[in-house]
């Protein structure tokens, strides 16, 4: 029953995505294309990072921040389903396992995050980036999508207004997009700031994706940290869903 329920929740999001797939793909190309033109071609030609091109350094960072944004924002429509359309009630009154609802929504967001990442990798190839891809690289991307879709789910279940949902983007995602080793190495930051930033999940994702893509050694403790974050936020997402019926 758990798998059947997960599939039902996922199916609903897949039906919606399938209808808008072309629009989704084209809209997801704009931001990475601009990043690559501005930082890869423009600024990047005059910068060398750890002996390689800045484009090779940049693409894993863009993948990390983009998969974070896409997976977070893929789940946030649940907020309007809960507050405005009230269509979430259909799931609450049905004999559906609560965990299945969380997992189904997260998996649909992971799919969107991965489609978007594939688009970036394709564009990066056209721009001449040379990256090593592997199963570990994919695992890290998936973990990143899971973590941020769970955070998105938690926010959608606990925040009461659209305005406050926007503030999560402004105060949490936007600073992480720039500071978590996406555009530059965190080692250049002052110690105290660096320690704080190194605790954030996106820093571990950027570090792992870049290390794997550039064939550098990576610490597997970062993978464990991401898994622990994924478990923690799953617990929080589940709690937030169950809280709806209190």
């Amino acid at each position: 029953m758990l798998w059947q329920d997960i599939w039902t929740v996922f199916w609903r999001d897949w039906v919606v995505l399938r209808r808008r797939l072309k629009k989704f793909i084209f809209s997801r190309m704009v931001a990475p294309l601009l990043y690559m033109v501005a930082f890869g071609w423009g600024l990047g030609r005059s910068i060398q990072v750890t002996g390689g091109s800045y484009l090779d350094f940049l693409v894993p960072g863009i993948l990390a921040l983009n998969s974070m944004n896409i997976s977070f924002n893929s789940v946030t429509p649940v907020h309007s389903e809960r507050i405005y359309h009230k269509s979430l009630e259909e799931y609450i009154i049905a004999p559906v396992i609560p965990e299945a609802f969380v997992i189904g929504k997260v998996l649909a967001a992971v799919l969107r995050g991965l489609i978007s990442s594939a688009i970036i990798l394709f564009l990066a190839g056209l721009f001449g980036a040379q990256l090593q891809l592997s199963a570990l690289f994919l695992l890290v991307l998936v973990l990143n999508c899971i973590i941020f879709s769970e955070i998105g789910f938690f926010a959608a279940m606990t925040i009461s207004t659209y305005e406050e949902m926007g503030q999560v983007n402004t105060y949490i995602l936007l600073p992480m997009s720039f500071l978590c080793g996406t555009f530059f190495s965190v080692h250049t930051l002052p110690d105290l700031v660096r320690y704080a930033i190194q605790m954030l999940p996106l820093t571990h994702t950027s570090y792992l994706l870049r290390g794997i893509a550039l064939s550098q050694p990576v610490a597997l403790t970062s993978v464990i940290v991401l898994i622990l974050y994924a478990l923690l936020f799953f617990g929080m997402a589940r709690w937030a869903y169950l809280r709806l019926t209190k």
Partner: protein, 287 residues
């Protein structure tokens, strides 16, 4: 079939002064509903009708009391009870990103129906409510009456034994309202137990086998619409004074006529549930 005992819901809210205050939305409600019965919860706005339905359908946890379906407490087998109930909400809550057919299909999938069963039932129900042509349309394209009928059809996909309807005809024109009443009667005739909330007296009077009048979260009385009127007096004399409209109830027409003769201007009519409601709740809201 449904047994509710001492049902209470207390909401705790933070006031503007920062202090937490508790408010009982439903207070010690008890009643029983038999299989195939159309049971009405009648009360003015804010009486606790929707909160009661939300607790019965497990959308809101009760503070205390017991709810049993066929002798099983809701805490003991939530999933099995959810499988046997259908809910028609007060508000239109379709998934606007899906078509009418996909909304119906989602409901069938959520109730673990296989593909063949689902498709057959969706066709059957859309035909029943005369909306077969809307299957590929967005719910946004439907009129208010069509949406209400579709809400009922969606709740029936998994063949529930008990149907909860929260203000099923609110804001509908009389023609559509009568069409929905016919649907409800047909379902009850097929053995479905119906619990509906309404603040339309006429709806309760024409549809329900029994009615529970609730006011400010408390049960005022339960009876059949006819018995309520009989208890009150079968005839009503109505007249106007400076303080407003006045009523007096009589068991016979002769007694009523005798009293009316002492007044300058009055009107004699059969008593109805509205008179009972006003007498018991002292409120005219929502009527």
């Amino acid at each position: 079939m449904i047994k509710v005992k001492g049902l209470t819901k207390e909401f705790i809210r933070k006031g503007r002064d920062g202090k937490m205050t508790a408010k009982k939305a439903v207070d010690d409600l008890s009643f029983e509903i038999a299989q195939g019965e159309i049971f009405g919860l009648l009360g003015p706005n804010g009486a606790g009708k929707t909160t009661t339905i939300r607790m019965l359908t497990m959308q809101t946890r009760k503070t205390s009391g017991d709810i049993q379906y066929n002798g099983i407490s809701i805490e003991k087998n939530e999933k099995a009870i959810k499988a046997m109930i259908g809910v028609v909400p007060q508000h239109i809550n379709f998934d606007m990103d899906l078509t009418v057919g996909q909304n119906m299909e989602l409901h069938g999938r959520l109730h673990h129906m296989d593909k063949q069963q689902r498709q057959k039932r969706i066709q059957e129900l859309l035909h029943y409510i005369e909306l077969e042509d809307t299957v590929n349309m967005s719910p946004r394209q439907l009129s208010g009456g069509m949406k209400r009928r579709l809400l009922i059809a969606r709740a029936l996909i998994h063949k529930p034994q008990i149907l909860f309807m929260d203000e099923p005809t609110v804001a509908l024109d009389p023609q559509v309202r009568h069409r929905i009443w016919d649907l409800i009667r047909e379902m009850a005739a097929q053995g479905v137990t119906v619990l509906l909330t309404t603040h339309y007296i006429e709806e309760a009077e024409k549809l329900c086998n029994r009615v529970a009048i609730i006011n400010k979260g408390k049960l005022v009385d339960i009876d059949t619409p006819a018995s309520f009127c009989q208890q009150m007096g079968r005839y009503t004399v109505e007249w106007q004074t400076e303080e407003g409209r006045q009523f007096k109830f009589f068991d016979s027409k002769e007694e009523a006529a005798g009293f009316a003769a002492t007044l300058d201007s009055s009107h004699i009519r059969r008593s109805n549930l509205e008179d009972v409601f006003i007498e018991l709740t002292g409120r005219r809201e929502g009527i």
